[in-house]
């Protein structure tokens, strides 16, 4: 299993890998927002956490369609399906590698973009923390969408359409936890813990659903 993790990480940093693309897309999306809403610093600092969250959500969906498609195209998926190792575990490890390669850089880039959004230190810290807790959930649930769309010729867009509605709860609790951290009266912990719980829930449901879909999709 370690071998699979190492291979996927290697592939993501080699030529044509998606490690850089996701974080670049994130930065671009966030950089475009001020052109749309105007350079009002007060407004930006108020909507900053939400923008960072939406940007991270879109960016982590970006490379997901290749998660299983690349494996299917070169025939590796057939071999992985045949193994004694449970497919759920294989999917889980692939998700983990994908998150380390694309999700973690988003989390690391978010404090920098928080400065661009004129957010204060508290808001930046809370956003980074919630992104750290929330982006794995997006990857896990996205894996299910990627597995469903694996055999389709234009699966990339479909993955986003399938997964975005499912990722809404993550977005809700992520942003509300940040708002709770900024505005004193509301406590930070309850929404944050719900976010963590969602993460664990999706870490189970996503791979199981993805494994089922992959078994059915092979022909």
């Amino acid at each position: 299993m370690i071998a699979l993790l190492v291979r996927d990480l290697r592939l993501s940093v080699r030529a044509g890998g998606g490690a850089l693309i996701g974080v670049l897309f994130f930065m671009t999306v966030v950089a475009v927002i001020p052109f749309g809403v105007g350079p009002d610093l007060n407004l930006l600092s108020r909507i900053g956490p939400a923008i960072l969250w939406i940007g991270a959500l879109l960016a982590s969906l970006l490379g997901l369609d290749r998660l299983f498609q690349a494996e299917r195209e070169d025939g590796s998926l057939d071999l992985l399906l045949m193994q004694e190792t449970p497919l759920v575990l294989i999917v889980f490890v692939k998700c983990l590698a994908h998150w380390i390669a694309t999700g973690l850089p988003l989390v690391l880039a978010s404090p920098l973009l928080g400065l661009f959004m004129n957010m204060d230190e508290m808001a930046i810290g809370a956003t980074t923390l919630t992104l750290l807790a929330g982006t794995p959930a997006i990857t896990f649930i996205g894996a299910a969408g990627a597995a469903i769309a694996v055999a389709l010729p234009r699966g990339g867009l479909l993955v986003s359409i399938l997964v975005l509605p499912l990722a809404i709860p993550v977005l809700i609790f992520g942003v509300s936890a940040v708002h709770a951290a900024i505005e004193d009266p509301a406590p930070f912990l309850p929404p944050f813990l719900i976010l963590v719980a969602l993460n664990l829930f999706f870490a189970v449901v996503g791979p199981v659903a993805a494994a089922g879909a992959l078994r059915l999709s092979s022909d």
């Binding site: 699979l4 190492v6 592939l11 070169d74 025939g75 590796s76 057939d78 071999l79 399906l81 193994q83």
Partner: protein, 213 residues
């Protein structure tokens, strides 16, 4: 050890590809599946590999050294595609499959370098897989069969991109595998140069499944 298939039939989409195929292959034996294009050779191999559920019938492995839950776990499958990443070097690819597949009881896989040498490409394991020609890529995919031990080899057109010398090399590999107590099932047009192999001739099935519609 015996691989037994009983009354297999399989569908692709709505078409019944083949119907009621039974055979039995014992350890040390090879089975060559022959037939015209579209006769269902590839489909049969995918059913044996557990990648397609059979419409009817069953596959099982009797008296194996290591009992497996699904027969496909005891199989190597060499499909049309090589299951290798172009971006990684040959060595990284083979090392990955060696670690990922692991050995089944009753045999031992070769080291990566030894396996590459067996297919005649010992010196170029440091090259990225994408740099190799189609024939070389196929040979590396065959080296994958050697790095992890599986008693059953399912080979789908194994020698399609190979020249005569490489074909000979490959039949040597299969013979070696059979003498170690393995089983080989190959779908091919070309003669594999395997003396005394069983033959299964597939005629294709001209007819739809039950006329449900």
């Amino acid at each position: 050890m015996r691989l037994v298939a009983e009354g297999l039939s399989a569908k692709r989409g709505e078409d019944l590809i083949f119907h009621d195929i039974s055979f039995e292959v014992a350890a040390g034996e090879a089975l060559v599946v022959k037939g015209a294009n579209g006769a269902g050779k590839s489909t049969l191999l995918r059913v044996l590999a557990g990648l397609l559920p059979p419409e009817a019938g069953s596959v099982r492995i009797d008296a194996a050294a290591h009992t497996v839950e699904r027969p496909c776990e005891a199989c190597h499958y060499l499909g049309h595609r090589n299951a290798m990443k172009r971006e990684l070097s040959v060595e990284e690819n083979l090392r990955f499959w060696k670690a990922c597949l692991g050995d089944l009881q009753g045999g031992q896989g070769l080291a990566v370098d030894a396996a590459a040498a067996m297919v005649g490409l010992g010196g170029i394991t440091h090259l990225p897989f994408g740099y190799l020609s189609a024939g070389q890529q196929r040979r590396i995919a065959m080296a994958k069969l050697l790095v992890a031990w599986r008693p059953v080899w399912l080979l789908d057109e194994p020698t399609a991109a190979l020249d005569a010398a490489a074909e000979e090399m490959f039949s040597g590999l299969v013979t070696r595998h059979l003498s170690a107590g393995g089983i080989a099932i190959a779908a091919t047009h070309q003669p594999l140069g395997l003396g005394g192999a069983k033959e299964l001739r597939m005629t294709g099935f001209a007819g739809l499944a039950e006329d449900a519609w």
